[in-house]
Amino acid sequence: MELQKFTYENRITRLFMNATILWGIVGMLVGLIIALELIFPHMSQNIPWLSFGRLRPLHTNAVIFAFVGNGMFAGIYYSTPRLLKTPMFSELLGKIHFWGWQLIIVAAAITLPLGYTVGKEYAELEWPIDIAIALIWVVFGINLIMTTIKRRTKHIYVAIWFYIATFVTVAVLHIVNSIAIPVSFLKSYPVYAGIQDALVQWWYGHNAVAFFLTTPYLGLMYYFVPKAANRPIYSYKLSIIHFWALIFLYIWAGPHHLLYSALPDWAQALGVVFSVMLIAPSWGGMINGLLTLRGAWDKVRESPVLKMFVVGITAYGMATFEGPMLSLKSVNAISHFTDWTIAHVHIGALGWNGMITFGMLYWMFPKLYNTKLFSVKLANAHFWLATTGMLFFAIPLYFAGFTQSLMWKQFTEEGYLAYPNFIETVVQILPMYYIRAFGGALYITGVILMIYNLIKTAGIGKFVSSEDDEAPALHTHKHEVDKGHRIIEGKPVLFTILTLVAILIGGIVEFVPMFMVKSNVPTIASVQPYTPLELQGRDIYLREGCYVCHSQMIRPFRSEVERYGEYSKAGEAVYDHPFQYGSKRTGPDLAREGVKGGPIYKPDSWHYNHFLDPQKMVAQSIMPPYPWLITRDLDISSTPKKIRVMQSLGVPYPEGYAEKANDDLLKQANQIAQGLRDGGIEVEDTKEVIALIAYIQRLGTDIKKTE
């Protein structure tokens, strides 16, 4: 049998490894900064781009797409050629992929703090960057699929299935969720509105967790755990069942992010059922990973790589058990909108993604530099710092979430809310925020040790830019008649198509009814489009990231109706491009903020002073000040274009209204500003704060018009 010689290219792998380290520390430091900002709200020093609402999307995007993204690519570019016995299809595509991805990250790191955002969680980036992501993702996909096509092995190993599923699904998720109509170069409105937008967004959001943070890392687990333990994977049979069950079931589970919301009951039930079923394939993966170490547990004691893998896989098992539990309505009623969610996602991010990435780096660096790790002691220290840091991070937040939720729901014997003032529930959990920040600092200290260790490792070794290998060509294999799953395991294109079909079924079942029957979303006659001033104010609300701390979704609980007002209806958000239901209540819900006589109504002057200096109005508030809203002029030149785009999305402004919109805007602004001036506040009509007040005071008022 003739052997063909070929080489594995390590340079792209090294680039991605360096990038995951660089962006990892950046993303985590931004996380630490915003954790501290919750304790010291004046920390941002009145600098807009340092405020919590703008940095929080930067933190999530940096950790997910930059740290985990580059980590995944490093592992994929290392393992794929070795598993398929061929170099990657194209070095040029690899370079375009790497540099394109880094440019996207830089673009995100600049635009998000500057307030350019779509206002949808984990999908904040504006349309030009979205297009760039789609293009670079396709480059990655071509490189991956073509490599599998020109492989020299007959069989495609399970890790590659996970990589293929990642490519296919993320492409679908990103494109479907990002469809928007541009208003300008860095401003657009999503085509979906209200409850439909919420459904698409959480289908995307949940599956970003599934197919960006989970499936590629399961692929890495299936390659690097056997490598590091020098043991075959525990059960190949289990991997087949767990792969298909996982990708099929995950895609249905998105609606569990919208329990008790205005989403139809059937969609909520669907999300719950499939979330609970997800435990089985998720734990299939965990069991396969952990039991791969059977007979090699003694190595775990000595190897920091295996230690990290064990904790990472265990964290995966914990998070994937907790996730389905959180999707049960009775649990979700307590956990949702609290820090419990933050704790849950950080078990996944710090434990699963972090530990697997670190373990992988500690394994690959010495390999690529043909040397030993500079210091096993330092790596062990990193392991303990990361593990304890994670616990110090998550456990206080579980307490915080539970405590705050119970306080929100507590009634006195007389039937009144026991803690009617939201701030009482915030003050109670502040000590937990201190401990969380300490946990985060420990974790980052570990990462700094790793960086030092890896730099020293690179220093004592010599980089192996390419490795030679040889294998027989694929066509020289004797052909047996494949049966069952073996057929698709040897056909990458068919495999890709079937993966696509599996993930599309869940999406179609969820979306088709919601979109085909758009007219059936119960329209409420009194719900009208936003006035031009309110629309501009809403865009400021998005720009400042208010949605990361304030929900606009009153769930149908007595405690919430009592605290905030009547529960939210689907028909109220039909003109909301994008929806702003939110997912966390660091501050109170704002869905009925504008309802005069409602439980949380505040006059214009209160809002003005609150934006200027929150602590002046609520002494213990942890909201940062927004003085720039007071001084900045509202850009009204964009109003006509915004109205026209809204009209194209079906928002019923009268024909020709775009040209007259600014007249109405100025009139309404004058009314609000005059009211403030009458109260002794010196303010001009054209300042941004006026638009934001207009929007805030509109919230939740539409359905009250009929009463």
Binding site: L3, T153, G571
Partner: protein, 68 residues
């Protein structure tokens, strides 16, 4: 408790959408379980060792994969 709005309640046969999805999944699941039960142990062992192949041509040739 009737929790949410009555969106879509009147769509004909809406209740079958999730059921159809579940049936498709269960069919696939049963097929996969049948398949892995019938899969030869030797094949499964071979595939589970794939990552352990080193960058070594001789080992690659000796590998079960290439003896099919």
């Amino acid at each position: 408790m009737k929790i949410v709005t009555n969106v879509l309640e009147n769509i004909a046969q809406i209740q079958w959408f999730p059921i159809i999805g579940l049936i498709i999944f269960l069919t696939l699941f049963v097929f996969l379980v049948m398949h892995v039960i019938r899969m030869s142990r030797q094949d499964a062992d071979t595939y589970s060792r794939l990552p352990l192949e080193e960058c070594d041509g001789e080992q690659a040739v000796n590998n079960q994969m290439f003896k099919q």
